[in-house]
Symmetry: C2
Subunit: 331 residues, 2 copies
Amino acid sequence: MKKLINTPESVLPDALAGFAAAHPELTVDLDARVISRSARPAVPKVALVSGGGSGHEPLHAGFVGPGMLDAACPGEVFTSPVPDQVLAAAQAVHSGAGVLFVVKNYTGDVMNFRLAAELAAEEGIEVATVLVDDDVAVEDSTWTAGRRGTGATVAVEKLAGALAERGAPLAEVAALGARVNAASRSFAIALGPATTPAAGKPGFELPDDEIEVGVGIHGEPGRRREPLRPAHLLVAEVVDTILADHHLAAGDEVIALVNGMGATPLLELYVVFGEVHARLAERGIRIARNLVGNYVTSLDMAGFSLTLTRADPQVLELWDAPVATPALRWS
Amino acid sequence: MKKLINTPESVLPDALAGFAAAHPELTVDLDARVISRSARPAVPKVALVSGGGSGHEPLHAGFVGPGMLDAACPGEVFTSPVPDQVLAAAQAVHSGAGVLFVVKNYTGDVMNFRLAAELAAEEGIEVATVLVDDDVAVEDSTWTAGRRGTGATVAVEKLAGALAERGAPLAEVAALGARVNAASRSFAIALGPATTPAAGKPGFELPDDEIEVGVGIHGEPGRRREPLRPAHLLVAEVVDTILADHHLAAGDEVIALVNGMGATPLLELYVVFGEVHARLAERGIRIARNLVGNYVTSLDMAGFSLTLTRADPQVLELWDAPVATPALRWS
């Protein structure tokens, strides 16, 4: 295993210390392991809190800031944050208008965020939860009851964050988050495995000419293994798999995320985006907004995921709203 | 070789088509292979043009936009753009105030940009050139007479771009670019090689426990191979190597770029940044601004580079000026 770390045990605290030094505009509580905005809102607003295992950076800490999350709580690599940690995040940022938990659908995350919501309720903090389960690859998995949460998390956090910024009430922000999740589908392909610092060896093995179709963000098995093929054929399969599950028709618009899993060159992600664009155009579906890059990674996994979120005027308007976070920034 | 491509021959046109689809705010000439801003300036301004081999994305196309480059011309992977291509870029964006070429110091780039400058001069386009040669690892290399140009390119393009935006004359913008390059030093470490689509196999081989110290952005050999060590020891060597060559003293401020080479997780880059921050703090040097992420990559190479640019009030003020490009964006 070759990694730029000090010890496998210290990866998270060391990375958090580096994150704190790199982003002095944010508050990083190294003991509680909570990243939050430094400024409390002048007027109470719904606070967005997300979190999950580390190793998916920039998710979630990279999305803390005006227009998106209020706080993030990273667990150890590929491990859920603990309930007290999630509670600490909620306590750090609630301002009287309630807290929305954005939770990727993995058994540990769901359980620990639920426990944290109960603890928060005991303290009089109102909590609502949006569950993200956009990955069409598998219905259940080793880590999940139901579908896994992946790339749609970015859209949910961006859009619900923009709505919260405008002072919308908790129920409305939660409903928008659920609507965005329901309007999103993802599918991923791995060309190579990730290696966690703790394991020290690749999470799975792939022959030189095979890919894992439908891989999860922790390297969980997908649907099957197939031979590597030219990008346009791979993309056709990914797009068609999503469309088979998604209610998209000619004339529809989408937000498209072509996401690198961590070790795939941006040059290749642009090749993929070009093929996605062409394939959707054949179906009469227009990409209204897009992101191409590393947003929901899996350490050093090679491959990509595609997320399509159906757009409508409200979705596009919230997408275009200003955001100022380490990983997503526009005005 | 596992890559998300159609054919090795079509990587660049396919990626450019994808880039064009992803960034409709920019103009992509697929025939000339030039990416440029779509809007001509209302008042003539110095136009910044850069380029080089592909495989280093987001460099350079990802830095085209208000506040930074006016145009970029990507060559084939790890191959210089041809003179006619550079000329086409200059023609596309010059507005009467001259053109500044930002050229990384590689023999092919230097030659082809020089030829393009001569062709432009014949058309009455005034050209000045800033040569970037910030890599302290080697004095000459297989690809270079003199030091190689690497991470400082980002600072030169950002800062000179900001000055050009304000209407400064060509000589002044060129002088600022040269000053930023002279104030910058870089050093890189590879944990693993890159594979170009054309070669189809890794550019070099490293034993499981060794790193290439001082590697170049095309995988050129560095100073030596050493055992992999904990991040704080690696970073100490990188920082000390740069400081041995750089006129930095206690009380100085720097812009620090911790740059991923393409396949290194962001989690690890934050570990590295934390160690850089701590090591510099011991020397009384303060990081005033920073970037942590993939900015000057080498396809799927694992590793990182560190670039330190000495800051002063003008440098910081230009750094903070608005920029709106695919890869660098703030206001």
